[in-house]
Subunit: 321 residues, 2 copies
Amino acid sequence: MAALLETEQENADSFFASAPPLQDRELITSDAQKFVSRRLQLEPEDKTSNPRARVVCVTSGGTTVPLERRCVRFIDNFSSGHRGAASTEYFLKAGYAVIFINRRGSAQPFCRSLPEDPLLTCFEPDDKGAIRPTATHAATVQRAIKEHHLAIKAGNLLNLQYTTLFEYIQILQIVSIAMNPLRQNGMFYLAAAVSDFYVPWNSMVEHKIQSRTGPLAMELAQVPKMLTLLRQLWAPLAFCVSFKLETDTEILIKKAQQALKRYRMHAVVANELQTRKQKVIVVTDRGETIVERDESHTDVEIPLVDFLINQQTSYINASAE
Amino acid sequence: MAALLETEQENADSFFASAPPLQDRELITSDAQKFVSRRLQLEPEDKTSNPRARVVCVTSGGTTVPLERRCVRFIDNFSSGHRGAASTEYFLKAGYAVIFINRRGSAQPFCRSLPEDPLLTCFEPDDKGAIRPTATHAATVQRAIKEHHLAIKAGNLLNLQYTTLFEYIQILQIVSIAMNPLRQNGMFYLAAAVSDFYVPWNSMVEHKIQSRTGPLAMELAQVPKMLTLLRQLWAPLAFCVSFKLETDTEILIKKAQQALKRYRMHAVVANELQTRKQKVIVVTDRGETIVERDESHTDVEIPLVDFLINQQTSYINASAE
């Protein structure tokens, strides 16, 4: 394990060394620290398990990988961010504070049921020269805005946005280190669709790739596995959940089990692209648990978040013994 | 030229044959035809040049290229869609009807100066349990919604959205053929950032590319040059403007001149990534014209659209002689 950590540390060092510096690094660091501090003060003295003392870091949406330094083209990972946004709502309802690390433009908590382009679809000019919500969408849009603002204002939701893989990993590192003092009260719920491949910044071409020279051949390097660093260095006591998405059911469970062991996750949520909104399989060291949405077709994230909260409670209780 | 057309036709045939079928093809076709018909009826009998009889097709935003059939990963072209959205506003002001073919989620006309996530940023809960625009953004957001709705309601703006390269090219073909009856009164303003490379649907892998087998090697095919077909088959009399974006100024003008000749464009707008909001160079068969925004730093699209409208007017007048 030590050897693996050393290799990953070296990979990560060269990744970070070659990554363009994160804008607003200081601001993000101090926001994350302040957000965590407020919850640390709520920790009960008897160390019993209380969701109000817990913080979950939900990551959401796909990362981009630039193919050119002055970025015109990039590789993107498909993800609407729906799962991360929905899960954030249910963690908030359960009393957790949520650090929501999300792809710019992806789904936002409480706004999932709004149409595309909600500003132009949900509002219309009224007779007095002002604007009003359209009759069809008024209730939804009002509730979305109210609940989102309430969560931010109450200090229960911190929204941090990224676009590139480089930004994502740097923000995750900052947040992990800030959450480390929460010990077992911290949870990572890593639902973002992170690229496996990238073009190292140092070997990236400066200018736009030219198109008239025939087919384009590219070779992409593997992204270092940050989960190892998160679990062993950044926030080793936090409860850690990662996600595995595959289109091929055959290999899904096997890959989820591998990830559980290799990265020492507490749970891996296995989803198949076509059925991921109806059902997921949670893989832990006790085996596989099928989690399905109920018959009234509500979100699968309701039982999923509930299941994981219970798992974290057991983990906290076991650590306190 | 005939040989080139034949080759491009063959390339295009195999591209279209391998493309996944466009959803809503019938609806898009009938919407485009109806939209054009209204303007055809406005054409003055004396054939003098009148912007109210003209339709411009503005394309805007980047296209995605799926790397897998059940799409998890794709290559994307960077483009905020700001230029296309801004230009649409100025064409509307000049009396043109605009068919705005735009990337889902990219900038929308009249909404360019709104912040990211405008719904959550521009509105807040009020004291009566409803919502209101925030003081900072009230004027901007009200104007945006009113002007956008007005343009749609008046039948001056048709909004068609795409995500993938396959959708983009099929929609452009439908719109071009629908606009053909406008003859010289049609304009194409092709500001979208279209991929040069793609993975042919037939050779695409069914499932998600696996990451644990070392670095990823990919070979991408060149996208057939649809401009040749647009100019020679789909809408041969329309005034046609394409865009060339480069990060390397050295090769920019040369590439714009090549494009002008090769695709028989009426104008090619050359932009350099770093300065594209301040200045562009319009290349026509009469030479290069530098178009810059004025000293009060308004949009460069104001003089650009103005210049191109005048060019089209000359083209219409010359055709009528």
